[in-house]
């Protein structure tokens, strides 16, 4: 039996295309490192200033000058480069990073994303999230479908301060894979064993569901 997170990460790894430059957001998306196939030719970008990072092999000694943006020791693969913060964000703003995965407090059917601030409760700062969300060519949100109280995080309109507007292409939760379209969220896949009714119940957005072509994951 695999956990919800394992199923999400396994599904999210299939978004990565051979040859891409990919940024993995802080938290759950960082764990995608473990799910990328070894034979895939991908350069992982980290905004603190490295293109082509990889996890340390077991027993490999960390280098105190080599971390990713989450503060974890990493190392580099062949073809990697290191650079300063201005160059790193030039790469992001010029959309030279093809794909990024980010977590969310809220995401809505217009593709708006809120993941940096809960006024009065949580405001440690924005980091690089705003530029990544706005400028990376394709943004896939990877988050739980509901918060810890069971409230929907997938909404018709975000209530929290936005990280960026109209920036999300696809949302992957433990319950569904959804694409942002002008008409609403197009449900392309639904979790094994979950009913369409249960998905609608857990969601506060317009869902477009065609059961004849609905995939399972």
């Amino acid at each position: 039996m695999i956990s919800d997170q394992q199923r999400m990460l396994t599904r999210a790894a299939r978004e990565v295309i051979d040859g891409q430059i990919v940024n993995l957001g802080i938290g759950l998306p960082t764990r995608l490192f473990h799910y990328l196939p070894d034979d895939m030719d991908v350069l992982v970008h980290s905004e603190n200033g490295v293109l082509g990072c990889r996890l340390l092999d077991s027993g490999e000694q960390p280098d105190i000058d080599m971390i990713d943006s989450g503060g974890t020791y990493i190392t580099t693969r062949a073809g990697a480069s290191v650079f300063d913060s201005a160059t790193s964000f030039a790469m992001i703003r010029r959309s030279r990073v093809d794909l990024t995965f980010m977590g969310a407090f809220e995401v809505d059917q217009q593709g708006n994303l809120a993941n940096w601030k809960i006024p009065g409760k949580f405001s440690p700062g924005i980091g690089g999230a705003m530029e990544l969300a706005q400028k990376v060519a394709r943004l896939v949100v990877l988050c739980s479908h509901n918060d810890k109280h069971g409230n929907p995080k997938i909404l018709s309109r975000c209530q929290l301060p936005l990280t960026a507007s109209r920036c999300v292409s696809r949302i992957i939760t433990e319950k569904a894979v959804m694409d942002v379209t002008p008409e609403g969220l197009d449900v392309v896949e639904i979790a094994e064993g979950l009913s369409v009714e249960a998905l609608r119940e857990a969601t506060d957005a317009t869902l477009l569901i065609d059961e004849s072509r609905l995939g399972r994951f």
Binding site: I26, T30, R31, F33, H34, S46, E47, N48, G49, V50, L55, L56, P62, D63, I64, D65, M66, I67, D68, S69, G71, T72, Y73, V82, F83, D84, S85, A86, S88, F89, I92, R93, S123, P124, G125, I126, G127, G128, A129, M130, E131, Q134, K135, P161, L162, T163, A164, S165, R166
Partner: protein, 233 residues
């Protein structure tokens, strides 16, 4: 500006005449590239009412975390405090004023001062509260937000290698904000593990030319062994 052949000095001398109330840029992203020895000397030297500009607040009780906990910092200009619960607490209880900027805009504001410009135009943050707080301008029908350059009295930077003239080479992800800050302050103090003679560094490997650097201080490699985080994946 210091004469070329008079830049190497000891750490106390480099820090001593920074005044109270100074605005100081500090290199580093988390631990790599943080000039820990210079910050420890600043703590020992006693300056107060400082404005610091750094990507983050380090982890608790290291780097600028020590200065914040000692009540020596009035204002922090940064992109996030995520790794330092004490800094978040100081912000929440009002003892530390914090100004947040998106990380790439913070880098660019510093870069802009470093190249002698007053600011730049950007679309980052449009549709968010960041844009509501700034002026905008129309250029040929396109609306841009105006971001001013960010300049400082002093920059404290960390380099892997230097020479006596102040040419600097950074290493791996310890580069980050250091080369930007090394151009953006009136006075630039660099700490480094090794100070070579002029001519010893490969000239096409120098990241910061000596023209921007005021003082060079040699520090022990062990001074950087701070903020080691477990591999938490």
């Amino acid at each position: 500006m210091t004469l070329l052949n008079q830049k190497v000095c000891d750490i106390e001398a480099a820090i001593a005449d920074i005044p109270d109330g100074a605005t100081i840029m500090v290199g580093g992203f988390g631990s790599p590239g943080t000039p820990f020895a210079l910050l420890d000397a600043l703590l020992a030297s006693g300056q107060r009412d400082l404005t610091l500009i750094k990507n983050d607040a380090n982890e608790p009780s290291i780097g600028i975390g020590k200065l914040i906990e000692a009540g020596r910092v009035t204002h922090l200009i940064t992109s996030h405090l995520g790794l330092n619960r004490f800094a978040i607490e100081a912000m929440n209880n009002g003892t530390l004023k914090v100004s947040f900027h998106p990380q790439g805009l913070l880098a660019e504001k510093i870069r802009c001062a470093g190249v002698g410009h007053g600011g730049f135009l950007t679309d980052i943050g449009q549709g968010t509260e960041i844009a509501e707080a700034r002026r905008s301008i129309d250029v040929d029908g396109v609306t841009w937000g105006i971001e001013a350059a960010l300049q400082a009295d002093v920059a404290l930077v960390h380099a892997e290698r230097a020479d006596r003239y102040g040419n600097l080479i950074y290493r791996a992800t310890a580069s980050n904000f250091n080369p930007l800050m090394a151009m953006a302050a009136d006075r630039v103090i660099a700490q480094t593990y090794r100070i070579d003679e002029p001519g010893d560094l490969p000239i096409d490997a120098i990241h910061t030319p000596c023209a921007f650097v005021s003082q060079v201080v040699q520090v022990d490699r062990a001074s950087s062994q701070q903020g080691v985080r477990p591999h938490d994946l």
